[in-house]
C-alpha cells in the first residue's frame, strides 16, 4: 500500500534527523530568547474624535489608543542547513509573528534573531502590484529580488509554467486584480521560489493553491532544501507539515511548547496532549 510506505518513509526521515542532530550541523537561523511586542494603534474603543485628538496634542500625552500585545514571549531555537521546520499552533499563537521577525520585518523587544543571509517571507497577504499584469509582476518581482534582466528572461517561462497561471487561458497578460486569490498566491509563490534562498519562510501560502499546485510546491520546497537552504512552513494543514517537514515547533500563546521530530510533535498536538 502506498500509504504505509509513505509512513515508513517519514519514520526513516525523522530518525535520520535525530541521528543528524548528534553531528556538527551548520546553523542558519538562531532565535535567542526572543520577545515581540506589537503596538496596535487605534485599538481602544471610540474616542477617535477631533476634540480628543486635540486635547491629546495639547496635553502631549501618548495616544491612549495604543495597546501593547505581547505576541511572542521568550522563544529560543536553532534551525540548521537543509532542515524544513514546520510551525504549528492555534490561531493567534504567534506563528506568523515569529516568521515576520525572522524575516527582519518586526523588531524584537528583547533577545535577538541571527540569520544566514536575508530570509525571504512568503505570505498570503503579501500583495504584489494589483493593477499590473501577471507578466510585469513576474519581471518586477525577480528584479526586486536582485536578479539581472538576463536571468529574468531565462527563468520567466519556468516561473509562468510552474505557477500554472496559463493553464486556463492567457491570464498572465491580465492585471493581477482579476486573479482569484488562489491564482495570485500561486504566482507569488512561483516568483519567490524562482530564486535560491538561504532561508525561505512560507506562511500559509500553499494552502490556497489546488492539489496539483500543492504537489508541485512541495517538490520545489524539497529542491530548495537540497540546495542547502532552510525552509520554515506555517500551516494549519497538518498533512502538509507531515509531508514537507521533518521537524516541527509547536507554539502556543507566544511560548514554545514542543520542538522535535514532526510525527511526535504533530501527533501530540492532534491528540490535544501537552508534553
Amino acid at each position: 500500500m502506498a500509504d504505509t510506505t509513505m509512513i515508513t518513509d517519514r519514520d526513516e526521515r525523522d530518525a535520520r534527523a535525530v541521528a543528524q542532530a548528534k553531528e556538527t550541523r551548520v546553523p542558519t537561523v538562531v532565535v535567542d530568547d526572543v520577545h515581540i511586542i506589537y503596538k496596535v494603534h487605534g485599538a481602544s474603543a471610540g474616542k477617535g474624535s477631533a476634540t480628543s485628538a486635540l486635547s491629546r496634542l495639547i496635553s502631549r500625552k501618548r495616544s491612549p489608543a495604543i495597546t501593547e500585545v505581547h505576541a511572542v514571549r521568550g522563544i529560543s531555537f536553532t534551525a540548521y542547513k537543509g532542515e524544513a521546520v514546520g510551525l504549528i499552533g492555534s490561531n493567534g499563537s504567534g506563528k506568523s509573528t515569529m516568521l515576520s521577525a525572522i524575516a527582519g520585518l518586526l523588531p524584537t523587544a528583547k533577545g535577538a534573531i541571527y540569520t544566514n543571509g536575508q530570509p525571504s517571507l512568503l505570505g498570503v497577504n503579501a500583495a504584489l502590484m494589483d493593477d499590473l499584469t501577471g507578466e510585469r509582476n513576474v519581471v518586477l518581482g525577480c528584479l526586486a529580488m536582485g536578479m539581472s534582466p538576463a536571468q529574468v528572461k531565462e527563468r520567466y517561462q519556468d516561473i509562468v509554467d510552474f505557477s500554472g497561471i496559463n493553464e486556463k487561458g492567457q491570464f498572465i497578460n491580465l492585471p493581477m486584480r482579476t486573479y482569484s486569490s488562489g491564482m495570485a498566491a500561486r504566482l507569488r509563490f512561483s516568483i519567490a521560489a524562482a530564486k535560491t534562498h538561504d532561508v525561505l519562510l512560507i506562511d500559509e501560502a500553499l494552502s490556497t493553491g489546488d492539489q496539483a499546485f500543492q504537489r508541485r510546491s512541495e517538490d520545489r520546497i524539497r529542491e530548495l532544501r537540497k540546495e542547502a537552504g532552510t525552509v520554515f512552513l506555517v500551516s494549519h494543514n497538518n498533512n502538509a507539515i507531515r509531508d514537507t517537514c521533518e521537524r516541527t515547533i509547536w507554539i502556543e500563546t507566544g511560548k514554545l511548547i514542543m520542538d522535535g521530530p514532526t510525527d511526535e510533535v504533530v501527533g501530540m498536538y492532534e491528540r490535544g496532549e501537552r508534553p
Partner: protein, 312 residues
C-alpha cells in the same frame, strides 16, 4: 512510531559545537542580526544592483497610472497644459499684473518645473505607504521606491519638455546655444528632487498626517516662488533678508535656470530695457549647492531608518 522515551533536542548543536550558547553559535558561523541595516557603502552597492528594478518599476507604474483612463497617457501632456491655461486665464488675462516679457513661455516653464518638484514631493510622501505589499513581500533596498517615483516624474517631465518646446517656439523664441544648459540644469533638478522625495518618504512612512498637510505647504511654496508672476518685482520694497530668501529659494533657482536656458532674452537688458528680469547672482552655484545638499541629506536620512520601513 518513534519512541518518546529518549527525548532528543533537534535544536541543540551537535558534534564539535556541542555546548555552545546560541550567541556563540551565531558568531561562529557568521550569522547576522536579521533585518539589520547595511552600512552606507554596502547600501549604495545594493541600490545600484537594483537599477534595473527601479527603471522597470517606474515604467510599469507609469503605464498602469492611466490604464483606467480612456485617453491613456495623453493625460500626461494634457494635465500640465490645462494647468497653464488656468494660470494664464487668472494671472495673464484677469489680473494682468505682469510685466514679464514673453509671459506665456515664462509661465509654462514655471508651471512645468514646479509641477516636477511638487509631484516628486507628493509621490515621495506616499512612496512607502502605497507599496507596503511589495515592501513586506520582498527584500530590496527601500530607497528604490522614492527613487523610482522620481524616475516616473522625470519621464513625465521629458514628455512635458517636448510640449514646452512647442509652446516656446510658438511664443516667438528660437533655439539658441543656451538650450544646451537645459541638460545640466535638469540633471541638478533631478538630484534635488530625489533628495526631497527621500526625505518625504521617511517622514511620510511614519506620520500619515503629513499627506493632509502637504497640499497647503506646496501651494504656499508655489506662490512664494513666483511661478506665475515675477517674485523679484514683488519683493523689491521688502527688507533685504526677504529678497535674499527669495533669491535662494530652490524652486526659483531651478525655474530661473531653465527659463534662462530656453528664453535668454527675458533676462536681457538689450532686448527688454524696461521689464527685463534679473538672473539671481551665482545661480549655478546655488543650483549645484541645493542639489548636493538635498541629495546627500535625503539619502542619509532615508537610509538611517531603512530597517523600519514596512514594519508594525
Amino acid at each position: 512510531m518513534s519512541t518518546v522515551s529518549e527525548p532528543i533536542n533537534l535544536s541543540l548543536p551537535g558534534g564539535v559545537d556541542t555546548g555552545l550558547s546560541q550567541k556563540q553559535l551565531a558568531e561562529k558561523y557568521g550569522l547576522t542580526v536579521s533585518g539589520k541595516r547595511p552600512g552606507l557603502f554596502a547600501y549604495t552597492k545594493q541600490l545600484w544592483g537594483r537599477r534595473h528594478f527601479i527603471v522597470a518599476f517606474a515604467t510599469a507604474r507609469l503605464v498602469a497610472q492611466y490604464t483606467t483612463a480612456k485617453m491613456g497617457q495623453l493625460w500626461q501632456v494634457v494635465t500640465p497644459l490645462l494647468n497653464c491655461a488656468v494660470f494664464y486665464l487668472v494671472f495673464g488675462l484677469i489680473l494682468k499684473g505682469n510685466s514679464v516679457p514673453k509671459y506665456i513661455a515664462w509661465l509654462c516653464i514655471g508651471v512645468f518645473i514646479f509641477q516636477f518638484i511638487q509631484s516628486a514631493i507628493q509621490s515621495g510622501t506616499r512612496a512607502i505607504s502605497d507599496n507596503l505589499g511589495l515592501i513586506r513581500a520582498l527584500h530590496f533596498p527601500r530607497a528604490c521606491m522614492p527613487v523610482a517615483f522620481t524616475v516616473i516624474q522625470l519621464q513625465q517631465l521629458l514628455i512635458s519638455m517636448v510640449v514646452l518646446v512647442v509652446i516656446v517656439l510658438a511664443n516667438g523664441l528660437y533655439p539658441a546655444l543656451t538650450w544646451l544648459e537645459l541638460i545640466p540644469a535638469l540633471a541638478l533638478l533631478c538630484f534635488f528632487n530625489t533628495g526631497l522625495a527621500l526625505i518625504m518618504a521617511r517622514i511620510g512612512s511614519k506620520t500619515s498626517d503629513i499627506s493632509q498637510l502637504m497640499p497647503f505647504v506646496l501651494r504656499t511654496w508655489m506662490y512664494l516662488s513666483g511661478v506665475m508672476y515675477s517674485i523679484q518685482d514683488r519683493v523689491q520694497n521688502w527688507p533685504g533678508i526677504v529678497q535674499k530668501l527669495a533669491d535662494v529659494n530652490p524652486a526659483s533657482v531651478y525655474m530661473d535656470l531653465i527659463r534662462h536656458a530656453m528664453a535668454p532674452s527675458i533676462y536681457s537688458k538689450a532686448d527688454y530695457p524696461d521689464n527685463y528680469q534679473h538672473l539671481t547672482p551665482h545661480v549655478w552655484a546655488l543650483a549645484v549647492g541645493w542639489a548636493v545638499v538635498a541629495f546627500a541629506v535625503g539619502y542619509v536620512f532615508f537610509w538611517k531608518s531603512e530597517e523600519e520601513y514596512g514594519r508594525g
